[in-house]
Symmetry: C2
Subunit: 501 residues, 2 copies
């Protein structure tokens, strides 16, 4: 690095790290809001968070920062990693500055309005209350896609916000396979003897449940010196630096299953954040690459590891020590099967590992048509129910259990849902590869030894930050891009053995 490029690069790093400080501070305020804030704190807290994020945004969209990036892109004294940071930041800058301040303001105002309408509609259990605001939001999102610009389908422009490089072409291909290959498996499961998961529905002491997940997270390799777990209404993970990446969970004293996989899931997210480079703090190479890869980490732990028989061969006896009475009559096999019960349901967040992807696919199909202008909000409730009838064989006239169930659209988050499925599919591919690279992995899991798995994830995923995008990363790790076959093979093996299907 020569003198000039070094100087410019340091200026660039200073701006980026300052913006990160403001964003991470906002994340602390957000965490506190969900976990500990007293109720009257909401109004001022909302303004404080808005002030912080707006300022961070200003820093990285200022014309002077744009000029600095342009100068840096032109220099040739940077290392490969430095160049990658600059290039990604320049792309972010170009995207971020495509929306005028007025448009961003309009979006923000519409989001508040739309969220309030969604809350109101849920209270009244009536989609029509939400419909007009949602329609206005859809119109704005179509405009946003136009402002961003796109090749192919306008939805690509919005996808890019959550999943850089993903396209309708990629998603159509993967969901077409889902539509073709999952139903036969589900049909054969339907024809088998159903799994009994009533063991979860007993009384389980709250603190004991929490203590078990603390033990579990610790064994997974989650570093409690660089994080903590608390309760919140909706479980989430958040990070203020790799040295402080936290999780929350929720507990239901009448349902043991609620906390366990929520803790493992968020723990998987947090392990990713703890594994990011502190040296690259605030820079693209110190940030998670995409939502789908983030989700691949949580799903790999939650499902591939956390719903496996080998995992529970170790942890079920541990869990029994926490709840000796409630679990006395149940074997590890009973527990393992209950943890993997498959049954079509109306609520996405409660869905099993298989039917989950129909929930996502339905939302994807709807979003795509909404953004293309082929569909409007007016008869969305019927469209929704028809899709559920078609793919899951169930539907409800109750909008709360239907089109009103998710908050995402009220936030204007179109393009977010597909990353949930992509995450599961990447997870299956990564886990398949990890099993190849670590021949003793299943034995290690059975002994609750996760060091090699964590190191493998650190080495293959975490250390790179945004250096390689999702598909490039997948290619590096598995030798190919997104491939639904890994998930399908994993699912077939697992559920055929559980159901004897």
């Amino acid at each position: 690095m020569n003198g000039l490029s070094k100087k410019l690069y340091n200026q660039y790093v200073a701006v980026m790290q300052k913006a990160a400080d403001f964003n991470n501070a906002a994340a602390v305020l957000g965490w506190d809001q969900e976990v500990f804030m007293p109720p009257k704190g909401f109004e001022f807290r909302g303004k404080q968070i808005a002030t912080l994020t707006a300022h961070a945004h200003e820093l990285v969209t200022s014309t002077s920062f744009g000029a600095l990036l342009q100068d840096l892109v032109g220099t040739n004294g940077l290392s490969e990693d430095e160049m990658a940071n600059v290039q990604l930041s320049y792309e972010d800058y170009q995207k971020n500055t495509k929306l005028s301040a007025e448009f961003v303001e309009k979006l923000s105002t519409q989001t508040s309005k739309c969220y309030a309408a969604w809350i109101d509609a849920r209270r009244k259990n009536d989609f029509k209350v939400f419909q007009p605001s949602l329609q206005e939001m859809i119109v704005l999102k179509r405009q946003q896609a136009d402002l961003y610009g796109y090749e192919g389908h306008p939805y690509n422009a919005l996808l890019d916000d959550y999943e850089k490089g993903a396209t309708v072409k990629l998603l159509d291909k993967v969901f077409d396979t889902v539509k073709k290959e999952l139903p036969p498996l589900l049909d054969s499961i339907k024809n088998c003897v159903q799994v009994d998961d009533s063991l979860f529905a007993q009384h389980f002491n709250k603190q004991q449940q929490f203590n078990f997940t603390i033990e579990l997270l610790g064994k997974m390799g989650y570093d409690f010196e660089a994080g903590r777990q608390d309760f919140s209404e909706h479980p989430f993970s958040t990070s203020f630096a790799p040295t402080d990446a936290r999780v929350t969970t929720r507990v239901n004293e009448k349902d043991l299953s609620s906390i366990i996989w929520s803790s493992i899931h968020e723990g998987g997210h947090a392990l990713y954040e703890q594994g990011l480079s502190t040296a690259q703090y605030g820079l693209p190479l110190g940030a998670a690459v995409s939502l789908s890869i983030h989700e691949s980490q949580s799903r790999l732990w939650e499902n591939c590891v956390g719903r496996s028989l080998v995992f529970w061969n170790y942890f079920y006896p541990v869990l029994k020590q926490y709840f000796p009475e409630q679990l006395a009559a149940f074997s590890t096999q009973d527990f393992y099967k209950a943890a993997n019960k498959v049954t079509p349901s109306l609520i996405r967040t409660e869905a099993d590992e298989l039917t989950y992807h129909f929930h996502v696919m339905i939302r994807y199909e709807i979003e795509k048509e909404l953004i293309a202008g082929n569909l409007n909000a007016d008869n969305l409730s019927e469209v929704w129910n028809n899709y559920y009838q078609q793919f899951l064989g169930i539907s409800s006239t109750n909008d709360l259990q239907g089109v009103l169930q998710d908050v995402h659209w009220s936030h204007g988050s179109f393009g977010y849902f597909p990353t949930y499925s992509l995450g599961s599919f990447y997870a299956a591919q990564f886990f398949e590869q990890a099993l190849k690279d670590i021949p003793s992995l299943e034995k290690e899991i059975e002994a609750s030894q996760f060091q090699n798995l964590v190191s493998w994830l650190r080495m293959n995923v975490h250390q790179y930050g945004r250096k390689h995008n999702s598909e490039a990363l997948c290619l590096r790790i598995t030798g190919k891009g997104l491939d639904f076959n890994s998930f399908m093979n994993y699912a077939q093996r697992k559920f055929c053995s559980i159901y004897g299907a």
Copy 2:
């Protein structure tokens, strides 16, 4: 308010509220750091807080903000309160811009160095390790006084940072009275039968102690919908808005006295913050007036209320329900006397209500001479011990129990200590007035009815924010300025009855 001044005033409010958002966000990060942050989080957290506070400082010291203030000071379309805000902000601006960025940087660097040296000196129990850094800090503080400018004594310039309007003249007068009037009372107490406070030294369950203070704070009128209490190593109160003002406390299972008065003290601070105007958020009239008035609120609750017999006539039976075994053998009188035991000691933070002021006075005398240049750091350990011998009749060759005990000087906080005593003296004056204004106050306290007292404090102190400075406020409330007699009368009445002196 005419059109132009309205427009300018709104611009001014926007800048101030933005700066407040950054400062309050920093306060959330600071609270989290003391209460919940995992240990590895320290490094990045420190930088994040520094980024937030530096930016807030930039906002209110920018030349454009100075020009805006100058324009506003010149307009005549503002209301009285608006003018007060502008005037106070203008004075702050003028003071804040007297130090160059280089000097602020120098101070900040020296603070880090000096704090590290203090920690090291404490570990080695050797003042000499601290001495060189402290001496450099003293030199910088003398320069700071010169840069601020002052009338009379240079120490006045530093005092002004914590206690606007306070002077050596005022403090000399009050501490001269302390030196004259307190020793005879202490002497007569020394000649009486001493109080037995061994009832505190039993085993008291941590959670039960905490629960008692939660009940107590609730009765005091502390709003748990706009605050919360947690544990931290050193108790403190902090505020992010009047709608979210929090306290922390500490617990010692072998000493019941530790938590009780710490909770009441911090609760008094937090009641002040909860009582500030939300409409004046971010503006001088929405901020606490000074450290001494803040301390007057905590001390009024801790001592005038929380160590009174009427208070414990109600709360001791409550406390006994929490600890029936431990307290069975002790009467309310026993407890009340134990809560007011007077005995000279080496550690300021553990001192009783009377000897406490010698601790403060000694630090004041030393600081004054250090800043005047009449004293240097080199033989401070001896100077310290001589003062303790002279005023408290005890001293220690152990620097940890002497000159190294407080963190303040390592932070460069010269001028802070006197506010602790001023707070107690203002508290006694305010409480004396409250007793006059609310004739049934003692009966109300005895029934744990604090609404009238809280309203009185809201009306007389909280609602004004910084509108009137400490002395002006005291004059409004009591008809005179700071007057040690109220404290002396209060102390004489109370301790003569307890000790029969």
